[in-house]
Each structure stands twice: as structure tokens, then as C-alpha cells.
């Protein structure tokens, strides 16, 4: 299993704070996971296959698209940060 978190605008638009997904070929790496999420259609496809920048973190560090996922990983998706 992997845990997926959504923050800020994404959390609100997707009406999802977090979810757990099985680890398989469709969740093998960050880019596969994004494809899987965008395949849900509607707002999911707008966000994960659209023009807006979506940042990804893996285990609380900035992730690269080809970062592999393993059991127990925590993935997070969020818009560009705006703190400070």
C-alpha cells in the first residue's frame, strides 16, 4: 500500500485529503501514479493531466517524476508553495 496526500487548492478541488492505494504497476512510480489519478476523469484529469503545475513529494521530500514507489511510501501532491 502507499499513502497519497493532497494539500491546499488540490485538497479542496479533489475533495480528498488522503487515500491509500495498492502498490502495483499503476503505482510503480510518480509518473504512473499521476496517470492513474488523471484517468479518474473530471477534476482529476484537469489537475493531473492539465496545465497547472502540480508538485509531488515522496516521503516528505521533493520527488522527481521517475522516483520509484515502494510499500509504505507517502506521496503528496500540492500546488507551488506560497509561504513566508
Amino acid at each position: 500500500m502507499i499513502k497519497v496526500l493532497y494539500f491546499a487548492r488540490l485538497r479542496e478541488e479533489l475533495k480528498t485529503e488522503s487515500e491509500e492505494l495498492a502498490l502495483d504497476a499503476s503505482t510503480a512510480d510518480i509518473i504512473a501514479l499521476k496517470l492513474k489519478l488523471s484517468a479518474r476523469g473530471d477534476i482529476w484529469s484537469d489537475i493531473f493531466a492539465g496545465d497547472e503545475t502540480v508538485m509531488a513529494a515522496l516521503n516528505q521530500e521533493v520527488a522527481k517524476p521517475d522516483d520509484k514507489l515502494k510499500d509504505g511510501d507517502e506521496v503528496a501532491f500540492f500546488p507551488p508553495v506560497t509561504g513566508g
Binding site: 487548492r9 508553495v81 506560497t82 513566508g84
Partner: protein
């Protein structure tokens, strides 16, 4: 080096933090601090309130990494990074970056470095309330440019 990194819902008292940073260390010749404050105006609109969300766990890790990088680049005697989350009103401090060193050059550079990277790397998101309702604040292109300066 004395280091404190904190994310808090409580009101941020920048002076108490700077005082703690300075306390009893007679080797400190320079303290440079940045206080980020909530403005009542953004992108052409009046802003009456703001709410700050963050990613607990990742935030602290990201800030630790930025501060560690700064203390490797410059000789520092102390750093405090305190960031508010939750609901804020205009005039409220959002963030304090306070840096102490023997001489000023290092303190200035480290302080600006830390806030520049915090702005682009630390997972905080602002939502502001205007007359038209609430909206998420967009990332600034100028923040990316500010970060890029440090690559050279």
C-alpha cells in the same frame, strides 16, 4: 550553532525570538532578521484575512535542510525560523528568520538565503479572504528568481 525551527498556530512574537537568539552570547556582533507580515492588499485587492496551511513533517524537514545548508555556507552563531500557520489578520507576523553571527556580511547573506528558499521549498500555502470570498494565493515568479540567484 543554536538552531530553532518551529511551525506554530500561536501568535508569533518576533522580539521574544530575537532576544532568545541573542541571549548571553557575547560573541554575536550582528543579528539580521526578516519579519514577513500580513498585508491588507494583494494582487490589486483588499485582503481582510488569511489562512495558512502546511504539510506537517515535510515542512520541518524542508526548513531543517535549508538552515543546514545556510550554516554550511556561512559561519553562523544562531538561526531561528518560526512560521505561523492557521488564521492571520493584517499586521500579524507570518514568519521570522533571525540569524546571528560575529560579523554582518554572513548574517545578511544567510538570512536572505533562508527566506528565499523557504518561499520556494517549504510546503506552506496561503489562502486569503477578499470582498469576493476566499482564494488561494498564486506562487510568485519573482520568488523563483530570488532562489535561482543562489545557484551561482
Amino acid at each position: 550553532m543554536m538552531k530553532e525551527i518551529r511551525v506554530q498556530f500561536e501568535t508569533l512574537d518576533p522580539y521574544k525570538e530575537i532576544d532568545t537568539l541573542r541571549a548571553d552570547n557575547k560573541a554575536i556582533g550582528a543579528v539580521v532578521n526578516f519579519i514577513g507580515l500580513m498585508r491588507d492588499f494583494n494582487e490589486g485587492d483588499s485582503v481582510s484575512q488569511m489562512s495558512l496551511e502546511h504539510y506537517p513533517g515535510m515542512t520541518e524537514k524542508a526548513l531543517e535542510k535549508i538552515v543546514d545548508e545556510a550554516s554550511q555556507r556561512w559561519e553562523l552563531l544562531g538561526v531561528r525560523v518560526i512560521h505561523r500557520v492557521g488564521d492571520l489578520d493584517p499586521l500579524d507576523p507570518i514568519v521570522l528568520v533571525a540569524v546571528a553571527s560575529a560579523h554582518r556580511g554572513e548574517a545578511f547573506k544567510a538570512c536572505e538565503f533562508i527566506i528565499d528558499f523557504l518561499k520556494t521549498r517549504a510546503p506552506f500555502w496561503k489562502k486569503e479572504t477578499t470582498a469576493d470570498g476566499s482564494r488561494w494565493v498564486d506562487a510568485r515568479h519573482t520568488d523563483d528568481e530570488a532562489e535561482a540567484r543562489w545557484q551561482s
